[in-house]
Symmetry: C2
């Protein structure tokens, strides 16, 4: 299993070979693969890898099942905030617990096919998100986005960056403001890389430049992704998202969250129920391994923040645009989705 090492981009395109599920887990922990959908799909292939390795050694169905469960458990402990990881692991569990499979080899195959379907679904979902998002605008707009939500963060196309791609394709994009997204610099390193490759017009700014751009009337909308959305609409996303939402409110600019329905966590009543990962101080005090602060500097480094639903103009999902999200509207949509899935036939991951 091969992963592009995102900590080395854009300077170097280094592919990691993951031979064990431990390698996949470590790549997620170290943010070599990052972005909620990409993490989830990488984890699915990590479970498949463990199952195939067990099957290749002639393991029984029970042993392959145990290998998949152990792999899932390890992968679930990598990063706590993004919920798609847990949704995907739960979906895979239904596959490996399927009592109708009679050989270890067949079960490993089933799990692999399920991981492939998840990857394909993610790609389709992103294109739908992009196209729904683009329909929000009827003239060329300047979009500010945060972090990286593009092909590198998903299987392909992207969520918030998918909206930007669709706008560009439809001739409705006047330009993109890419904030650098300290400390991990996903904007400067990854979003800038993707937009340059696609010839999409943009400017890079420091995170603290967003406010004055808004004041100058240079931002028509902010579009961001999400790591987990509580059932009331409160949204956890990369640190800095909440501040952008407040700035949008103050300047009368719409603030959109583009994310798959799988980002909604029905078990989280509101933002307070979402665990926020705090990461190591050195990610703030060093850039590319070079210290930028004196030794011994104390740091507070939450990797995510929560934007309350009342600051969100709309959620953009694969099912459409949900304006002014609140618990009633979100539960209605989840019920609709469940009914549609039941109608489409069960067992589909």
């Amino acid at each position: 299993m091969r992963l592009l090492d995102q900590t080395r981009l854009p300077q170097a395109q280094v592919w990691l070979t993951c031979r064990q599920v431990e390698d996949v887990a470590e790549a997620i922990r170290q943010m070599r693969v990052r972005g909620a959908p990409a993490i989830a799909v990488a984890a699915a292939f990590g479970v498949a890898l463990a199952a195939r390795q067990a099957a290749a050694k002639g393991a029984t169905v029970a042993a392959v099942r145990a290998a998949a469960a152990a792999a899932s458990q390890e992968l679930a402990q990598t990063r706590p905030t993004a919920v798609q990881l847990f949704a995907v692991l739960a979906a895979l569990r239904q596959v490996w617990e399927d009592p109708g499979v009679d050989s270890g080899q067949a079960l490993a195959e089933h799990i692999t096919r399920a991981a492939e379907r998840l990857a394909k679904t993610d790609s389709q979902v992103n294109r739908k998100i992009g196209d729904w998002g683009a329909q929000l605008f009827d003239r060329p707009v300047r979009i500010l986005t945060h972090c990286n939500t593009g092909a590198l963060a998903t299987v392909e196309y992207g969520t918030a960056l998918g909206v930007i791609r669709s706008l560009h394709r439809e001739g409705k994009l006047a330009g993109v403001w890419v904030d650098e997204t300290r400390p991990f610099l996903q904007g400067a390193r990854l979003t800038a890389f993707e937009l340059l490759q696609e010839n999409i017009p943009f400017h890079l700014i420091t995170d603290s430049t967003a406010a004055v751009l808004m004041r100058a009337g240079q931002v028509d909308a902010v579009v961001v992704g999400a790591d987990r959305i509580a059932v009331n609409g409160d949204t956890a996303n990369k640190i800095g998202t909440y501040g952008l939402a407040v700035l949008c409110r103050y300047h009368g600019i719409p603030f959109y969250v583009a994310a798959p329905m799988a980002t909604i966590d029905p078990s989280a009543a509101n933002g307070q129920a979402i665990p926020i990962e705090e990461r190591a101080a050195h990610e703030v005090t060093e850039v590319l391994g070079q210290p930028i602060a004196p030794a011994g500097t104390p740091v507070w480094h939450p990797a995510f923040d929560v934007t309350p639903a009342d600051l969100i103009t709309a959620l953009i999902t694969e099912h459409g645009v949900l304006a002014r999200p609140n618990e009633r509207r979100i539960r209605d949509w989840l019920a609709l989705q469940d009914a549609a899935a039941a109608g489409a036939g069960e067992g589909d991951v």
Copy 2:
């Protein structure tokens, strides 16, 4: 003339030797010396250096005067936004144009003494600012500050950091949130360095972490410095300041600007009259000389922004605290200061 190279801190304490006024100008342009008061005082000594060099070669009064004027002209072209630079050069002009001096040597001495007085005054002004600021609080508070406004940005003590020093001395400081201040990292590199040296409790955060700290009730006030204050109270300061002021308004947190009266520019009617320096793209796309964005990334990099007066709770100056600054209040204070200076005797720089 020796200057501590602030681009090398905190990793290395490198002292630059400036042998010519051109060296001083280049050090200001390259931000090896930065901070509005420090730039102004460095420029004053740059003029003195040029005058002394001319005098040492036996120059006439007229030639020393010409050397000072030429040095002043060169130094005035280094950085456009901070106004203290121009105020100090104007004050020195009164000295070098003094018709009562009869030798080049004597004139160079006069200019040098004037530069020394300016440095001493800056230090006294900062202590007064700090002490007035500390009187705003009657219990231990958590202050968030931006950029570096400490001993490195001034002659000593600091402006916003002077308020923090005074609070600490008076036992009214619960802690400081230091934002890193991209792209030049004055917070991470310089403010953290000063606070560690003084054993003042603080945490470093990325710029985009401020909002969520405010939401969590962890910030009692924001105190920043200023590069230029228009006569209506609009304040130019390091990029990112305006966003903090908006976040303060949204969260009901007081926002203070700590700066000497010399920061007020009576010729600037409002913020639109303040020139905002835009700096080179590589300051954003590189950190410590290492690229963090792909080659060819377009950048928008204003070094400062303007915070409108209505977002400023109060100005903290050496004369006291001016709440809810507006043109009438500021003009009253400037008139009071002029009257006091006239009473104290003219000719004092």
